[in-house]
């Protein structure tokens, strides 16, 4: 699949939830090739501060209009600077990168689960739209979106999901809206209570969340596609920086790695050795400007 370096015009940019921004860009070459679950490497500004690009998933894509949308959360310097750009400015993008989600088979009808932790909602939205578009026979109500954030201010509004017609299960860690507690706990409980057994499972969110999703999927033998994160320098497979410890079924003791930007970011639940994972967590927001 071809990759492009494209100087994309910012068409629209606004804060849609607490520290969560939606940006629409004109980027025809990239938009035409983009798959749900793939990402772009964004240069947040000219110069060398910050030095590296930042990976952001496609949130929505509009190939005919030549547009893409990104949804991102301000967690550090790069995303903070990004949030200060305005329509009319240009951003240098590299993409589309990574493998992307596999859509359910054309004859799939059964329920599917989508689990989004926080900003993990970003790529799942594109996925839901693509499923709806590519498979009109698929009842949107069979898409069960389990969507949790820390607190209600971080949730995308209900209306955001209205047109899609999917079934949204809400949770917040602090109970300020929907189910109180982690989204994975809500999901596991729902699955148990209503004997819910999705045909397939898609998830995006922090690694802590993905760990629980992966455990559930493996235990219940449900095929899962997890969008995983890692720190990236190139996004192209050149630096080998974005490694995650690979699980090799043949040789569980083998010390191999998968690379998020080439082999992923979408992985089956059994692809990584969770017990060898070190997690990076963004600093608390109040220290952001430091």
């Amino acid at each position: 699949m071809p990759k492009f370096q494209e100087n994309a015009l910012i068409l629209d940019h606004r804060e849609v939830a607490d520290r969560t921004w939606l940006m629409r860009l004109m980027s025809p070459k990239i938009a035409l090739e983009a798959r749900a679950g793939q990402f772009v490497m964004v240069r947040v500004r000219d110069g060398i501060d910050p030095l590296l690009r930042r990976p952001l998933s496609f949130h929505r894509t509009f190939p005919e209009e030549g547009c893409i949308e990104l949804l991102y959360r301000v967690v550090g310097k790069g995303t903070l600077l990004l949030s200060k750009t305005v329509p009319g400015m240009n951003l240098d993008l590299l993409g589309p990168l990574g493998n992307g989600f596999d859509l359910p088979a054309p004859d799939a009808r059964g329920p599917i689960a989508l689990i989004a932790g926080g900003i993990g909602i970003a790529p799942l939205f594109d996925l839901m739209e693509r499923i709806a578009l590519s498979n009109p026979a698929f009842d949107p109500q069979q898409m069960n979106l389990f969507y949790g954030t820390r607190t209600v201010a971080e949730l995308l509004a209900l209306s955001y999901f209205g047109a899609l017609g999917v079934r949204v299960h809400w949770s917040t860690d602090d109970g300020s809206f929907g189910h109180k507690g982690h989204v994975t706990r809500m999901f596991a409980q729902f699955a148990e209570d209503s004997a819910f057994r999705p045909e397939s499972l898609y998830a995006c969110g922090p690694l802590e969340m993905q760990f629980h999703v992966a455990r559930w999927a493996l235990a219940h033998d449900v095929p899962a596609q997890l969008s995983l994160e890692s720190l990236m320098a190139c996004g192209l497979g050149a630096c080998l920086g974005c490694a995650l410890p690979a699980a090799s079924p043949d040789d569980p003791a083998a010390d191999g790695y998968v690379h998020v930007c080439m082999d992923g970011p979408i992985f089956p639940a059994g692809a990584v050795q969770w017990q060898k994972l070190q997690v990076h967590r963004p600093p608390p927001p109040i220290f952001l400007s430091d």
């Binding site: 071809p2 990759k3 492009f4 370096q5 240069r43 060398i48 501060d49 910050p50 030095l51 590296l52 690009r53 590299l94 890692s230 720190l231 990236m232 320098a233 190139c234 192209l236 497979g237 050149a238 630096c239 080998l240 920086g241 974005c242 490694a243 995650l244 410890p245 083998a254 010390d255 191999g256 790695y257 060898k276 994972l277 070190q278 990076h280 967590r281 600093p283 608390p284 220290f287």
Partner: protein
């Protein structure tokens, strides 16, 4: 293209034609495949980044069987960056790569730990550096480039030892030893704790090292460290570097090497120079005071 920053040449196929580049130095190759270090392997720093990839690579056999044919196809000039844990491993690598079609030269990476000597880095001591270069020299007629580490007191001494042991050229620098920590999790930001700093931040250090090496030895020197523009590249050449390598900048701008080539051509035209050779090594450290009575006439003193 600096080693470790351009993969095996395929990764940038959409952005530039490796045949256009002077040479591609592929990712460091060892005798056996190496999985590399556990993640996190990267951290961004002010105007730079630290990496602790741990020299993940497919091993020399697979490199020769799979990667090299692809590079040959693209007509890239390939320099193979090699490293080992012992002097013998270096020698073994040289034997395997000697005579392989499509390998233009070897770059000996002596910035990795010497297992025999308790993890000391080969490139930090003139004697061990010479031992590695000598062993490689004995096994191959290929042109040899020795890549030096800046993490030493006197880089010129290491360069001299490498030249005496038979290297044809020196490239400098490899990354600068560095570290980063996270005050919230109270952990190192790299699983490996230490890593190597690269990018614009190290350019002033790389220029100084290059200058010291050029004063110590007569062989061709290749500048590397923080190069991201034609101006950066020309700075190393002004000191006397015959060629340059671009590393970290590839990550930010995959087309950067072509931009640099074009920028150098533009500069030469602007300066009325026909060949880059007329610029290389023309640094003037003498004529510093244009208003002095013995000034060398850079100013029109009306």
């Amino acid at each position: 293209m600096a080693s470790g920053t351009f993969g095996y040449g395929e990764e940038y196929a959409d952005f530039l034609d490796p045949g256009r580049l002077g040479a591609v130095i592929v990712k460091g190759i060892s005798l056996l495949p190496r999985p590399g270090n556990p993640p996190p392997r990267l951290v961004e720093t002010p105007a730079g980044m630290i990496n602790a990839i741990g020299l993940e690579n497919v091993g020399v056999d697979r490199f020769i069987d799979v990667k090299l044919p692809l590079l040959r196809q693209r007509r890239a000039t390939v320099i193979v960056n090699i490293f080992g844990n012992t002097v013998d491993e270096y020698a073994g690598l040289a034997s395997k790569l000697d005579g392989e079609d499509g390998v233009a030269a070897l770059e000996i990476n002596i910035s990795c730990p010497n297992v025999k000597q308790g993890g000391m880095v080969f490139g930090t001591d003139p004697a061990t550096a010479a031992a590695v270069v000598g062993a490689v020299r004995a096994r191959t007629a290929l042109p040899l480039i020795t890549k030096l580490t800046p993490n030493v007191t006197r880089i010129g001494e290491i360069a001299r030892a490498a030249v005496d042991a038979g290297t044809d050229a020196i490239s400098c620098i490899n990354t600068v030893a560095a570290m980063a920590v996270d005050i919230f999790s109270r952990r190192p930001k790299l699983a490996n704790v230490f890593g190597g700093l690269s990018g614009p931040a190290v350019k002033p250090i790389a220029l100084r090292c290059t200058y010291e090496v050029l004063q110590a030895v007569k062989c061709p020197v290749i500048g590397v460290g923080g190069i991201g523009t034609a101006t950066d590249a020309l700075e190393f050449m002004l000191l006397g570097a015959r060629a340059v390598q671009v590393g970290t900048a590839n990550f930010v701008n995959p087309g950067v090497s072509v931009e640099i080539l074009e920028g150098i051509e533009r500069f030469l035209r602007f300066q009325g120079l026909d060949r880059i050779e007329d610029f290389i090594g023309t640094l003037d450290t003498e004529c510093l005071f244009p208003f002095a009575e013995d000034a060398c006439g850079v100013l029109d003193l009306s």
